[in-house]
């Protein structure tokens, strides 16, 4: 058995479980949101590559030391409807496993994307027809409960309720809108959706934590945009006004495909976000300043490693 194929398998296991768990628990990401998101994305890409690459590499190992040439040989034989004689049952099992994983990852990801697109289309139709059009992008729903959200896409809609307007001071409302506009403008859904799909494909605690962590990081990113435009105090007050008084929405039964916004621990990210806005940050130490570049470097290495292994 080639050592490097097993290294890839070890990487796949690390990236599927301990790494996301540790990353979700770390404290530094809230101070380095962009770098942290890049690292999460790298963990996802490298995780997928190694998860499929490891069984492939183990499967074709007897054909050639290199995965690419080994696969080419396998492909040539497959064209003639035969399995290379060098492959025994364990290798065939590994190859079947790689095939099944590929089908599952691709299938679940496409299904998840389709489902999200369908839900969003319904939501867009509903707010376009039933809400007040405040401007090209902003929709105001006639509802007393405060709420603000973004329907992302190429023509995004920002939705608020009359209750939101009533609950907030003008600068707080401006902060909420700046936050949602940042989501819309920077297409944050493209960051979050792959992790939602990952969670559907691998319904394990680490994947759930990854999706929750990335969702919170994206909220912090939008908070930073809003804080720059409107100031931290207004945003913090808006978060407390909406997060602290909204209370649970009546627990009616709704279509299971409905869009969800928060997990059972939804409140905790809100508190972290407020604390992040109100606490004075001491000037960063040398270590603190090195975290950012180090994380970016790790992200690049994480993607480059398995890619090089698969393509060499």
């Amino acid at each position: 058995m080639p050592v490097d194929a097993w290294l890839l398998a070890v990487l796949a296991i690390l990236l599927a479980w301990p790494v996301p768990v540790a990353l979700a628990r770390a404290a530094w990401p809230k101070r380095h949101t962009r770098a942290a998101i890049a690292l999460w994305q790298a963990v996802g890409i490298a995780g997928g590559l190694s998860l499929i690459g490891a069984p492939l590499a183990i499967g074709v190992a007897p054909l050639d030391g290199h995965l690419r040439t080994g696969l080419a040989e396998l492909g040539r034989d497959a064209m003639h409807l035969r399995v290379p004689s060098a492959l025994a049952t364990p290798q065939e099992i590994a190859l079947a496993l790689a095939g099944m994983l590929t089908v599952r990852l691709v299938g679940v990801t496409s299904l998840s994307a389709l489902r999200i697109e369908r839900d969003l289309r319904r939501q867009r139709n509903a707010v376009d027809l039933a809400a007040e059009h405040a401007d090209r992008q902003l929709r105001v729903l006639e509802h007393a409960a405060p709420a603000a959200y973004c329907l992302p896409g190429t023509r995004p809609r920002i939705v608020i309720t009359e209750g939101t307007i009533a609950a907030l001071a003008p600068d707080e409302l401006e902060a909420v809108l700046a936050h949602e506009r940042a989501h819309a403008r920077w297409r944050h859904e493209l960051v979050v959706q792959p992790f939602v799909a990952w969670e559907s494909a691998l319904p394990l605690p680490p994947a759930r934590r990854a999706a929750a962590a990335v969702t919170t990081l994206v909220e912090m990113l939008a908070d930073d945009h809003a804080a720059r435009d409107v100031g931290r105090p207004a945003l913090a007050r808006a978060l407390v006004a909406i997060g602290g008084t909204a209370g649970p929405i009546p627990n009616q039964s709704v279509n299971s495909s409905m869009i969800t916004a928060a997990s059972a621990t939804a409140g905790t990210p809100t508190l972290t976000r407020v604390q992040r806005l109100v606490r004075k940050t001491p000037p960063p130490s040398l270590t603190e300043r090195l975290i950012g570049p180090a994380v970016w470097l790790a992200a690049v290495a994480l993607v480059a490693g398995p890619t090089w292994f698969l393509l060499r």
């Binding site: 139709n125 979050v192 909406i242 008084t245 709704v254 299971s256 109100v278």
Partner: protein, 128 residues
């Protein structure tokens, strides 16, 4: 392309106008009645009946309108009231579950009473 750009918002506006009329008349309307009522609203200029039928067709495909036969014409009706549509939108966007299917994120999640207190405490730090 230029046509499309000019055309789509126009259709969108008409869809909203037609929905407003249908929401205001729970017993439903025929296409001809809608043409007349829109003309009254806009000060006399009548739209072509085919335009209204196109709009109604789009609304039917979006599942906002259904129709039944009424003599030689069809009577069109809103499938749900406006309040129901608004309430469903809110629930869809804000529902709290573990099953996070979409990348949609609301501004701030609902919190427990305990956490609300912590939030206000955090805010007090700001005001000091």
């Amino acid at each position: 392309m230029a046509n499309e750009r000019a055309g789509t918002p126009r259709l969108g506006e008409l869809e909203r106008a037609v929905m407003d009329l249908l929401w205001a008349t729970p017993e439903g309307s025929t296409a001809q009645e809608l043409v007349e009522r829109l003309a009254t609203r806009d000060g006399g200029t009548e739209l072509a009946p085919t335009t209204i039928l196109t709009v109604l067709d789009r609304l039917r495909r979006k599942d906002f309108v259904d129709r039944e036969r009424a003599g030689r014409a069809h009577r069109y009706r809103a499938v749900r009231t406006r309040d129901d549509v608004v309430a469903a939108s809110m629930l869809a966007a804000l529902e709290t579950t573990d099953d996070r299917r979409s990348a949609l994120v609301r501004f701030a999640g609902a919190v427990s009473a305990e956490e609300a207190a912590l939030l206000r405490e955090a805010l007090a730090e700001l005001e000091e």
